[in-house]
Amino acid sequence: MNRIIEYMLPPQRSTVASEVDSLFAFINIAGFILFAGIMITILIFVIKYRRKSEDDITPVITHNSILEVSWTVIPIILILIVFSWGFRGFLKMSSPPANAYEINVTAASWLWEFRYPNGGITVNEVFVPVDRPVKFIMRSDDVLHSLYVPDFRIKQDVLPNRYTTTWFQATSTGEAILYCTEYCGTAHSDMLATVHVLSIEEFEEWLETGLEVDEDMPLADLGRQTYTGAGCNACHTLDGTDRIGPSFLNLFNTERELVDGSVVIADEDYLRRSILEPMAEVTAGYPANMPSYAGRLNERQIDGLIAFIKELQD
């Protein structure tokens, strides 16, 4: 039984996980016993009381107080246990410790942006320390999203009109996957991010250096890294097929027709404007829903992206 339940759940990697899992196991086991009991009884009845002749006469049994009271009271006891157990876990989940490390999260269709107390920003990746409570203060730029990390057993909707919060304390280092679980349109299922859980020292170090851009990396390589890191790949492919936005392949220096009918050449300036103010010039035939990256990417990353796009010719 334990093996099955372990198989059914993702690894436990936060302090609340075991609380959730034990209740999950309890309901499964209690439910299974109840279910098996009912089914076996039915099976026995079906075999023992199968019809023997067309004129079978059956007794009149209309009630039995002991039975009826017990199958009312026992479920009530069970649900009270389940409720208070679930309540206990929920209480823990909804009361972040006061010393939690706070990260501001902005969800936009379709990317996750994380802002650290030191002003650093990452997109679609978040770096957190292990064994230390981390609190996400979340807000959406547009529609509802929901932040879900199965390994931590946390989930919270992200709203456009007010802040919501969730917190966790990771118990082991490594990567964990972060999903968007509130339906938010076309690329809802691509709105993923990675949680990097670092040891305290690694995290301190990352805060110092990790946010700086590697000056030595060639621009185009940086661009390729940013392309996936910042989530451009959710909407733009590199192989010429359309996704939500146009493919980057052969984009540079071609003529682009905008929704207002005008035609522009996709030169460096245009690419830059497209990244920083995508709504200003919307390409005909595509929805006007690219998020702005102004403030989310630094100058070097933008340059990198442009260099990267320029290279994509076949």
Binding site: L91, S94, S95, R162
Partner: protein, 100 residues
Amino acid sequence: MSTHHISTFATLMSVAGALLFLTFLTVAVTWINIPEPFNVIVAIAIAILKAALVAMFFMNLYWDSKFNTVVFLMAILFLIIFVSITLLDTMFRDAGLPIY
């Protein structure tokens, strides 16, 4: 045949008179400034009284099968359920959970 109730002319007129008076009253109380929660309470109380008059005497609930009254009250009851539980969210969003 059960007898259908026929209201007398006098009943209908006096109910209408009462309704008009209550309408005047509900406007009139706004002239004397009653403090915050009570003005709403007074206004709603008068409205409920008026609605009850209409339901009982114009809509004949007073003489009708009581089941019809039950049916009508169900609507009110479920509306109250809807509002009160929703308020449980909207009024307590920032409150958090009391630690037990």
